[in-house]
Each structure stands twice: as C-alpha cells, then as structure tokens.
Symmetry: C2
C-alpha cells in the first residue's frame, strides 16, 4: 500500500500517525476561537471549517464544517465523504498547485485544544471480543460455561449512556455507587474500589436509517472509527447487573480518541473474520471481509511516573465486525442516527499480555500486575493515567488512531455536595 | 383540591382531562403549518408558540416555544415553568381581562396533529414496579427467588434506545429478531411471536446536571410526566438478555402520550411510598412523599372491534419514586440532560386484573385472556390497538394524562428489503 506523499513534510514520516492516507476528522480550537472541524495532517490540523468558509471545500449547499461537530457532514453520506478526501488529496499532495493557498489554514497541533469530534446521538456497547468474553465468563462461571449460549449466534450488546462520552484528556472521577462487599448481606454506598479500563474500538454512524439494514448497508453507514475506553466500576457492576445488565457501572465516563479515522482510510486493512465452528444465521453473513487489522495497546502511568505498556493486542480478535454489530442492532426496527457510537466491547487476545482490561490482566485481583518502581495494580488507583493507542500498517503507510487518555481523579468526598 | 375555572368552558368539565389545573405541554400542527408548542385546555390547544411570538408570553430573552419541541423551555428550569403557569392562569381563568386577545390562539384539538412533545435526549427504563418484578420473577424462577437480591436496595434500570421513542398514534411494526424456540438448540431469525405491551409512566427531565444529584434536587429537575408503553418482544428478550440485559427486544418502539403533564399539576397527588421491610440506603431517602397517586388502565381493541379494558391499576404500586430513580441514575456521575426520559418499568398491582403487561395478564401464555367476540390473547396480534390511559383525581379536579395508543402492524415480509 503506497504512501500518498504530502507537501506537509511531517505527514510523510513512516512512524507518524497522520499521513495523507489517513485524514482523520476532529474538532479543535485555539485560544480565543470557537471549536470547529479540522483534519489532522502530519503534526498539524487543517482548518477545514475556515477553508469551507473561504470557498476552498465545496461540499454542500450550506456550510457543514463550521459548527463544532462533524454530524452535519457525516449526515451527507459516503459520496460527500469521498468528495472531501479527493479535495484534500488535491490540496495536500506533494506538488499541489494550491499549496500556497492552503498553507495558511494549517495550525500546529501543539497549539490546539481538541474537543469531542461529534455529538453522540446514541451510545451502544457490544461484547464482541471472544477472548474477553471467555476470560470474564471463566472467572465468573468456570471455563465450561464461560460463554452464554447466545454468544456464538449474535453480537450481544447493550445501550450505554451517550451523555457520559468524553474526549481524550478529560479527567475521570472515581464514582460512588452501591457495592456489596464479599460476604456482606447488604450493600454500602461508597466509592468504587474496582475501577477498571476497557480497551475498545468505536464505530461512528454517519448515515441514519429507519428500519432493518443489511450487513452490507451497515458498512456503508459507518463514517469512521475511534479508540474507546469504557471505564467500568466492577464492584458496582457485580451488584447491579442482574437482571437488566450494566448501568451505573458504565455511566461515569466513556473516553474516545479525538480523531475519527475515516472508514475509507481503514478499508485497506479489512481482513477475513474468525473461523467459526458455529455457523451464523444468514442475515449476519458478510459479503466481503470486514474485520479490521488494527494493532492496539494499553499503557498505564501511575501519578508522576513513566508509563508501562500493559497490553498489546489486535482488533482482529473481534468475533463480530462493526457492520455485523450495526446490522444486528437494527433488526428489530430501531432507527440508527447520525452520531451513534458503537463500542466493540473489550478487545483481548489469547495471551496474558493481550488482555484489554485490568480485570483480566490481574485475573480479578488474584494475580496483581507488577509495574516498575514497586507498583502493583489489580484495579486503577487515583492518579493513574491510562492511554489507549492503535494503528494499522501496511507497506510504508501507518494509519494512527491518535491517543485515548484519561487520568483518575479521587472520588468526591461528598457526592451530593453540588447543589443539594 | 379546587378546580380553577376557565372561560374555555370545556375545561371545567369534571370528567375532562385538561382543566386549567393541568396545562399539559404538547407539540401540534394543523394542515400547512409547522409543528410548534401548544398547551391543552379543555377540548382545545392554546398556540403558546404564537402567543410568545406576539409578546403575550414573555418567558426568556429569546423565543423558546417556536421550534417544535419543549426542550428549550424545559432547560430554563422551575422558575420559568412556574412563570408560564402563572401567565396562563392569568390569560385563561374565568373573567380574565385578556380573554378576547387570547381566544384567537385557541385551536380545536380535533383539527390538530400531535407530535413528539420533546426531543428525547436519553431514554432509561427502570424496573420499579414491585408486583411486576414479582410476577415476572415468579414465572422465571419461582416465588422464593422472584426478586433479585439487589431489588430491595436500588431502583434497577437499564438504558433504552432514545431513537425508538414515538408519539401516541404511531403504528408499531412487529419486529424480526433472533428467537430460540423452546427445546431448540439454535435460534431462528423470525418475526416475534410474543410481542407485548408494558404499562408505564415516564418522567421527562428538564434541568440538566453534571454530577450526582440528591433525591430532592432530582425532583426539582423533572419537568413532567407522560404515559409510556414500552413494547417488548418477549421471545427476543428471553434469548438475548443474558448477560447484558434487554436490547433489541425493547428497540422496536416506545410510545409516549403526546402531552407532558407538568410536575406542578401532579404535585398535589404525591403520596407516601410503600412500607419497606428492607431499609433504603440514606442517599435514597425522600424528604417528603414523592409517589404519584395516578389511576392507570390498559385497553385492547382487536382489529375492527371495540376495546376492552384489560387492566386497571395505580402508579402507587411503584416501589421507587421518579426522584429516587433519577438520583440513583446520577450517582456514578452520568450527566443528565434536558429531554431525558425515564420509564418507571411496568406498573402492576397485586390483583390479577391489575397487571400491566400481557405476559403477566396471561401468565406467560398459560392463562390466555378472554376478550368479547371469542377473541383470546396471550400476546398481541396484528391489528390490535393498545391504549394506555391515566388520570389523577381529587375533589372536583381531574388531571388527565391523555392517551398513549399504538396499533400493531404485521411484520415485514423481508426485513432487509429497504435498500440492501
């Protein structure tokens, strides 16, 4: 796969994240300016909102990039998405005649603040990682009964809380909640002691729908992908989740990376899905490979210390692709909306160092993780910073997903202090 | 409780739904006009959007009633909500000096089409009806283990799909989904055969929050209440719901009544909650009674036939009040938003005729319900029309909640027909 070279020189760095092949979509601001749409290129952000306003990016009859969220553009659909890429190739490729006109619209990434790149309409979290489901199921029910009987037939999912999705860099305050200590008859109301991370990918729906959509159509509805950390309070979850599923345990925050990497940039990295012993129902069949070959890692840094990579794995470990997830989501007729976010569920690989949560890495606290400096972790401690990273690579092209980072703040002393 | 008499005579009917004490908020349109905010009074709708535009309802610096959803007004908070009521009392009460000015803003209800009264930001469904939880739990696990151990300690809830909330009158198409027939090893993809209704109340959040809120503060955040039918595909639910809860089974549609009855109109009908054998954790304590004394009923009409009331019960059967639900929802830090909708969960009473779902009324299909004309029902059939109704009454005042109605359409022949 060839690198498309750019006159923005850092974009040609083979170890960089944002070559011209990528063109991920974010929302940025600089001191004194309003958040607006930008596209990452090398170490810069191209102010596509300003370019559109200047007539350099004719995308639609009305401006679609000026309002601080990619939703209006995403709603235009795949033809417009492709048009933006083609226009930007023309402006940014090596030798572009418009280089001199476009250069003033570049902003150094270091000077910019990044915001949530889209308004999250709905947030759904799936459970599509087989090793994760096996690990968690084994801890709870033993290896023979690890997977529930429906697991091999459908991408299990649940609705999350869209209002709690935040952009990378937002601190995450340890939640309070109902917790029943082991052996106790009744619960306490206390700060979570088993607060965890979850390594996930997220798909961003661009095109809305109003009824069941096929796997093929679902793929064409997905605008792009982000990294996603679905922070999870395991002790709150253990007590609350029967019979209606996770609720407050997942409601504190879900952090996403600030750059939506377009589906078009990741299309070359689609690979066949897993070999299945249990055949899928026909409606979930993929017309072509849809699993994403993206390398993923999790790093953890205790307060004031260097980070350690605690897990490395691949999105190839997902048992159900995002188009399969989205198709299944739509089967009962639920409308899908521009700005819907689908989390994959935690992505773990088969090896111990490939597990996408502390619950798995430290096996429920039974095998704490040793970090440099004498630190040990079963779950997250106050001050810990978690960073998810991901990239796809082929030939000389590296498509980076940016970073998805959050630091744990201590629990509030009095949770109802604010305006009771 | 005294009736506030109005010069809009039908509003004084003691058996009517919309006296001046009520003033419920809807969105309406007439042929050729755009949806806009209206308030029901007697058999008419007061075009409060037009009144605001004409300067007769000064509520905020900018117009808040013109855009076809009550969200901008709801976000203003309780002082503005009270101001609107006071202004409308002034305009609509018997002897109002502005009666002549206001009369042209009345529109006959029969001539209007009603729309969803607010943009649903998030939709959460609780499980706060104890008799319902007991009935369902008894069917699944026997009476000794009917309630999960957390049930007496917290209002259990799960996130629903906001995009599938529709207004009363919208037809509901029987969904397809994965279903595992009894005794089968593998699932089918087929139309649901156990499609059901759920009688619920819904609370509409007006004031947003950004961290945990107390029960007292939660009560002040609630703008008003609607009737809510959480259509449920029991066969899809039975197969999909472990371990992450209901998903597609609840995603086809959730129907709400078109009129948001203001919390202020229902405040006189707050009564003490249930006597509890198990004490609640202090954070869930109510500073004053918050259970709503609202009479509820469910009517079912087979295609072309008269309806039969199949259940009568009361919202007093809710074990957790809406402020308790909202407080619990917020404890882990999830932001609450203007337009969040909280469903109570199915409301059933102790008697057989007080059950708020067909699952309970026909006891899982074991005791089918006999209707006039030789019809029997275990679950809904195509062409059935379900209507929920509710009212609170004291002295000469009857506060009606309007109707929450939906007719079942047959399943699509080919669910992926639309644009595969």
């Amino acid at each position: 796969m060839p690198l498309i070279r750019s006159w923005v020189r850092p974009a040609n760095d083979p170890e960089g994240s944002f070559p011209l092949n990528n063109l991920p979509c974010g929302v940025f601001s600089t001191p004194g300016t309003a958040p607006r749409c930008g596209v990452a290129i090398g170490d810069s952000i191209l102010d596509v909102a300003a370019m559109e306003a200047a007539g350099l990016l004719p995308l639609a009859e009305r401006p679609v990039l000026g309002e601080g969220a990619w939703n209006p553009f995403m709603a235009l659909g795949p033809a417009a998405w492709e048009r933006l890429r083609v226009l930007l190739y023309g402006h940014l490729a090596e030798g572009a005649v418009t280089a001199g006109v476009v250069a003033p619209f570049l902003c150094g990434m270091a000077a910019a603040r990044l915001h949530l790149p889209f308004r999250v309409a709905g947030y759904t979290d799936f459970y599509a990682g087989r090793h994760h489901a096996m690990n968690v199921g084994t801890m709870l029910r033993g290896p023979e009964n690890a997977l529930p009987p429906n697991w091999d037939h459908m991408p299990i999912g649940y609705n999350g809380r869209a209002s709690s999705v935040v952009v990378s860099g937002t601190p995450v305050r340890r939640p309070w909640g109902q917790i029943r200590p082991e052996g106790a008859a009744t619960p306490l109301f206390a700060p979570s002691r088993r607060f965890d991370l979850e390594l996930e990918l997220g798909a961003v729906v661009g095109v809305p729908s109003s009824g069941p959509v096929s796997v093929a159509r679902a793929e064409a509805m997905i605008f792009g992908y982000v990294l996603l950390n679905d922070w999870s309070a395991r002790d709150i979850q253990a007590w609350e989740y029967q019979p209606l599923g996770p609720f407050n345990a997942k409601a504190t925050a879900t952090t996403i990376s600030p750059w939506i990497v377009p589906a078009a940039a990741l299309a070359p990295f689609r690979v066949p899905g897993p070999e299945r012993a249990v055949p899928l129902l026909p409606y979930l069949a993929e017309p072509h490979p849809m699993t994403l070959d993206i390398a993923l890692e999790v790093a953890l840094a205790p307060a004031g210390q260097d980070e350690t990579v605690i897990a490395r794995t691949s999105a190839r470990n997902l048992w159900y692709s995002f188009p399969q997830q989205l198709c299944h989501h739509s089967t009962a007729g639920a409308p899908m909306q521009t700005g819907d976010l689908l989390g994959s569920g935690t992505i773990s690989g088969p090896g111990r160092g490939e597990r996408g949560s502390l619950l798995e890495l430290a096996w429920g606290g039974r095998e704490p993780l040793d970090l440099p400096g004498g630190q040990r972790r079963s779950f997250l401690e106050d001050g810990d910073t978690v960073s998810l990273r991901g990239h796809a690579r082929a030939g000389g092209v590296r498509i980076g997903l940016g970073a998805c980072t959050g630091t744990i703040l201590p629990a509030a002393e009095e949770p109802f202090g604010g305006g009771q």
